[in-house]
Amino acid sequence: MKKTSPLSVALAFLVVALPLGWGLYRSIKNSMPLFTAGKPVAPAPAVPAPK
């Protein structure tokens, strides 16, 4: 009986983990301004109702 080597399993996971990790890194980096942005500005004034 030929058993699957744990190395094959690790390599298979690595193939998908690499692009996934890169994508995660990019997204987290892009979301940083959300936490570093200053105090939120006041909400915009109401749009007047059409006459």
């Binding site: 009986m1 996971f13 998908v16 994508g23 997204s27 979301s31 959300l34 939120p40 500005v41 109702a49």
Partner: protein
């Protein structure tokens, strides 16, 4: 078609590790999930002629979205619904290979369409041909994983569908990097980007087709006794797809998925403008918020669905609907007190449960109908997604515009919509609570041997 692709050639030999199947499933789903990140091409495709800005001969964003994203999702639902039984018969390897040919071939045709500046060719490529690839690539890994992990079906489907959620995280920046590389004074670089993406995705998807296997008949994980994961809703019987659609359970789960997705997709589609209108943040900051939602969407698929193995599927959907309802009602409150943190936390949890709704449904189907044609049944249920993809964004866009036109301040223009979304979740909750075990008259007659239901090829 070469015999290497046949189902019989993919039956795992003794000693094969089932842990090779999740990476195969994630790889395929990550590639076809690229559609979630397709919006990065919207603006460049509307400047294919004008390059730096749109000119009258250029396409509009609405036309591009219709020809690619919308048509692709409709074809996903249709191909999953109509080809589900073929997927079960031919097995995951052939399906993944055909999916890669359609999805990547569709990208090649779309590339030609951009070069010729023909929206019809783009629609045929990405929307129709690519959409068929999407449907096949979406259901094949899910049904295979459910069969490999009878002891943890929620975790298994969570893993696979997490891959689809990650498609935007990888596909969107990948597309942007490639367009930046290829753009010149005379080209926005979209056509070349599609070519490179087609090649990369083809390799990735066929890597998955190469390593995927189906379990041998009668195989079970070590120490697993069928029926040991007891629960009123977990059957040891089998129901075929044609019989499943005659049961009320099928339509209740269709309603569960439709309500869950309608509510979530409404937020996703409007996340950036909602954040800007409610808190006055800049588009860049709102873009970061959208990124956070993508991460929550992906992680929620795995975590919540895995948790359903312990709580049961019905109970976890009660959590999705009730907690979701409370969180939707909290969003207007977060705006009133000016708390961005509360807004981000509430929306991230909502979107994590939106993703989880997708990921848990195949395990729920497996509980009720068995594994024999779970892929085909899943394919038919996800037509609810196509319906929700139209309902959700339309509802949010129409209602918020209506509110603004009637003098509601733009930071409060989403409140009514959010309360309506909370109501939709309550409808989903009722559908879920009505789910009961399938009547035995629908069970497969021979005592439920899965092999008996596989169509003879």
């Amino acid at each position: 078609m070469p015999s290497f692709l046949d189902r019989a050639r993919t039956v795992a030999s003794p000693g094969f590790s089932r842990w090779l199947v999740p990476p195969a499933a994630i790889a395929v789903q990550m590639c076809v999930g690229e559609i979630y990140g397709f919006s990065v091409f919207n603006i460049p495709m509307t400047r294919a002629i004008g390059i730096t800005k749109s000119v009258p001969e250029d396409w509009t964003v609405a036309h591009v979205v219709l020809a690619t994203y919308s048509l692709g999702l409709v074809m996903l639902g249709l191909s999953a619904a109509f080809l589900g039984k073929w997927v079960e018969r031919e097995g995951p390897r052939k399906t993944m290979f055909v999916s890669s040919c359609c999805f990547c071939g569709g990208l090649l045709v779309a590339s030609l369409g951009v070069r010729l500046h023909s929206l019809a060719v783009v629609a045929l490529g990405y929307g129709v041909i690519g959409g068929i690839g999407l449907g096949l690539g979406y259901i094949a890994p899910v049904s295979t994983l459910v069969k490999w992990f009878p002891d943890r079906p929620g975790m298994a489907t969570g893993l696979a569908i997490m891959g689809f959620g990650s498609g935007a995280l990888v596909g969107a920046p990948f597309g942007v990097e490639l367009m930046n590389h290829f753009k010149t004074a005379t080209s926005v670089g979209v056509s070349e980007t599609f070519l490179v993406m087609a090649a990369c995705y083809f390799v990735m998807m066929n890597f998955a087709a190469w390593i995927v296997r189906v379990p041998a008949p009668g195989w079970a994980p070590e120490g697993f006794v069928p029926g040991s994961h007891s629960g009123k809703l977990i059957t040891t019987h089998q129901v075929v797809a044609d019989e499943a659609i005659k049961t009320p359970q099928f339509y209740l789960l269709w309603g569960v998925l439709c309500c869950n997705v309608t509510a979530g997709i409404g937020i996703l589609a409007q996340a950036s403008p909602m954040c800007q209108d409610m808190f006055g943040v800049t588009p860049v900051v709102a873009g970061g918020f959208v990124g956070l939602l993508s991460i929550s969407n992906m992680i929620g698929r795995f975590l919540w669905s895995s948790a359903s193995d312990f709580t049961g599927r019905k109970a976890i959907y009660v959590v999705y609907f009730l907690l979701g309802c409370v969180l939707y009602c909290l969003i207007p409150f977060s705006e009133r007190i000016g708390s961005v943190a509360l807004f981000v936390a509430a929306t991230c949890i909502i979107i994590s449960m939106y993703g989880a709704g997708f990921a848990t449904i195949p395990a729920y189907l497996r509980d009720l109908f068995g594994t024999v044609q779970v892929g085909a049944i899943h394919g038919r249920v996800i037509t609810a997604w196509s319906m929700a993809a139209i309902l959700g964004p339309q509802l949010v866009t129409y209602l918020s515009s209506y509110q603004r036109e009637h003098g509601v301040p733009k930071n409060e223009a989403y409140n009514t919509t959010l309360y309506i979304m909370a109501g939709i979740l309550l409808v989903g909750l009722v559908c879920n609570l009505l789910v009961r075990p399938v009547d035995p008259s629908h069970h497969l007659a021979d005592g439920g041997a899965p092999e008996a239901a596989l169509p003879k090829s």
